[in-house]
């Protein structure tokens, strides 16, 4: 359902991504693993229309979406939960969720259902819906960021380091939820440095280093690979 062909992206004159090609099938969970500064965030920002490509094409459901702007991409159901969460701190939890459905704001019924679904996955958000989002704990903010993404009714959900800065207890909770979301039919693209946990819930994975994809394969095979072992040992 999703395909990238030879994607190259520059920051000014400096290349950050070089000829990236990858594919995600409907219903899959795909992991993108890579060390710091590999270009993982750059890739997601490009896919969601924040950064411009230099070369290459991006296809979503057979449609060329290269260099569309971010709200066009969001309304197609390609949704990105950014590194660092980027929730709206001054607004309530509920308002954050409602804004997640901003591109579908006319569809009242869908929004009601979406809220129910998010509260079912994250009951804590329901308890705190009137609270200002900036006052939530880190783990709760990550749940809110995921909930807000779900409100946009994603066909493909891309997550940038959802485990970053969280206590192990929260990390496990979040990954368990991600697994459940995928079992309910949502396609996931997870960018992570929590290698084992991520690959344990993924079907396939890619390894990114210095802006290039250096390995790909089924999650189990990647776990055994020398490259991953090198990464873990650093």
């Amino acid at each position: 359902m999703f395909k990238i062909k030879k994607l190259t992206v520059h920051y000014g004159p400096l290349p950050a991504l070089k000829e990236i090609s990858l594919e995600i099938g409907r219903g899959e969970t795909v992991a993108l693993i890579g060390p710091n500064r590999a270009g993982k965030t750059t890739l997601l920002l490009t896919l969601s229309g924040i950064l411009q490509t230099t070369e290459g094409r991006i296809y979503f459901e057979e449609e060329d979406i290269t260099n569309l702007n971010s709200h066009q991409i969001v309304s197609k159901g390609l949704i990105h939960i950014p590194q660092g969460r980027h929730i709206f701190p001054t607004l309530s939890v509920l308002d954050n969720l409602l804004l997640g459905a901003y591109t579908k704001r006319k569809e009242k019924e869908g929004i009601e259902k979406g809220l129910e679904g998010v509260y079912r996955l994250f009951p804590k958000l329901s308890e705190r819906k009137e609270q200002r989002a900036g006052t939530l704990s880190g783990g709760e903010q990550q749940m809110l960021a995921i909930g807000r993404g779900l409100m946009g009714r994603p066909k493909l959900l891309m997550l940038d380091e959802p485990s970053l800065g969280l206590a192990p207890r929260f990390i496990e909770e979040i990954f368990a939820t991600l697994k459940k979301m995928n079992q309910n039919g949502l396609t996931l693209f997870i960018v992570e440095q929590e290698i084992h946990l991520t690959l344990s819930i993924s079907h396939r994975g890619y390894l990114l280093k210095n802006g290039r994809l250096i390995r790909e394969g089924p999650a189990s095979a990647l776990l055994e690979s020398q490259e991953i072992k090198d990464l873990v040992s650093i």
Binding site: S48, G49, I50, S70, H71, I73, V74, S75, I79, H80, I81, P82, H86, I87, F88, P89, T90, L91, D95, L98, L99, G100, Y102, T103, R105, R132, G134, R148, G152
Partner: protein, 296 residues
């Protein structure tokens, strides 16, 4: 004369000034809630509101209410143009550059006003012709009451926009987390565009309501704009209630100062207050969620 005897009258005029500053401050707040821009051309919207109404009333001979309404529409249009011609092309630029651009726009608008409407100060007739109310030895002009009404109606409408409508929340989101807003599909440029229109509308309303009390001239936007800015900072940046409280506090303190120091220093009081608040409590009296939560 006993200075204490003048205090009630000074207090009343302070409240009128306060309402004016509050109204102008609300214009700053509107833009601040949708972006991190401080629009230094805000005072020009106020000046143009009064100026254009004067022109339509006295040169085109439109009825007063129609002239006022049309002036508001024209100023809203100018607000939109300011966004389209100055802010939007600079959307990738850093904040200081945007601030300078609004300063440039302010100079441009006041010079254009001098060219177009002339350099003589102008006044609008009061909305209602009746004599001032006398309560004891205090006199209150009906226009002061109109200004108060305008300030509270504006506050009320802005409150509805920001806290009841999804649009207002989307504007706030654009300001507090631009990337988050982009990734939820909020078009930030559209939000800022709308905020400039709304804010220009508020400015022009302020201009129309106060021009019967003060003269308006091509350069009067600068000072009134700065006072409105100080009101918004004093009360709590980005908060509607803050602009209202800051406006009244500033108006009253400024007015009362006349009892104790030469009136020529009155404007200095406002700047002294600005320096003190920035030094000791940059969040303002009511605190600003926009200042503690933002990565400046």
């Amino acid at each position: 004369m006993d200075i204490w005897a003048t205090i009630p009258q000074l207090l009343t005029s302070g409240i009128t000034f306060g309402a004016i500053y509050a109204l102008v401050g609300l214009g700053f707040v509107t833009i601040a809630r949708a972006s991190q821009i401080i629009n230094f051309a805000q005072g020009e919207f106020v000046m143009l509101g009064g100026m254009i109404t004067f022109f339509l009333l006295n040169k085109i001979h439109l009825p007063y209410p129609l002239a006022a309404l049309l002036a508001i529409l024209i100023v809203v249009l100018i607000g939109f143009l300011l966004h389209l011609l100055v802010i939007y092309p600079l959307r990738k630029a850093s904040l200081p550059i945007l601030l300078m651009a609004t300063l440039g726009a302010s100079l441009f608008l006041s010079s254009a006003s001098a060219l177009f409407f002339g350099t003589l100060p102008k006044a609008l007739p009061p909305f209602s012709a009746r004599a001032p109310f006398e309560i004891g030895n205090i006199s209150i002009s009906p226009q002061s009451l109109w200004v108060l009404v305008a300030a509270f109606l504006t506050l009320f409408s802005l409150y509805l926009l920001s806290h009841r409508l999804l649009l207002g929340k989307a504007m706030e989101a654009s300001s507090t987390d631009p990337l988050g807003a982009d990734l939820t599909g909020i078009s930030r440029n559209l939000m800022i565009f709308l905020a400039f229109g709304v804010s220009a509308g508020i400015g022009s309303v302020a201009g129309i309501f106060i021009t019967p009390i003060f003269y308006v001239s091509y350069y009067s936007g600068t000072l009134i704009g700065l006072k409105g800015f100080i009101a918004a900072v004093l009360g709590g940046w980005g908060k509607h209630s803050g602009a209202i409280l800051g406006g009244f506090a500033l108006g009253v303190v400024e007015s009362l100062s006349v009892a104790f120091i030469p009136s020529g220093y009155k404007d200095g009081v406002a700047f002294a207050i600005l320096l003190l608040i920035l030094y000791f409590r940059p969040k303002g009296i009511l605190g600003s969620p926009f200042i503690d939560s933002r990565r400046w």
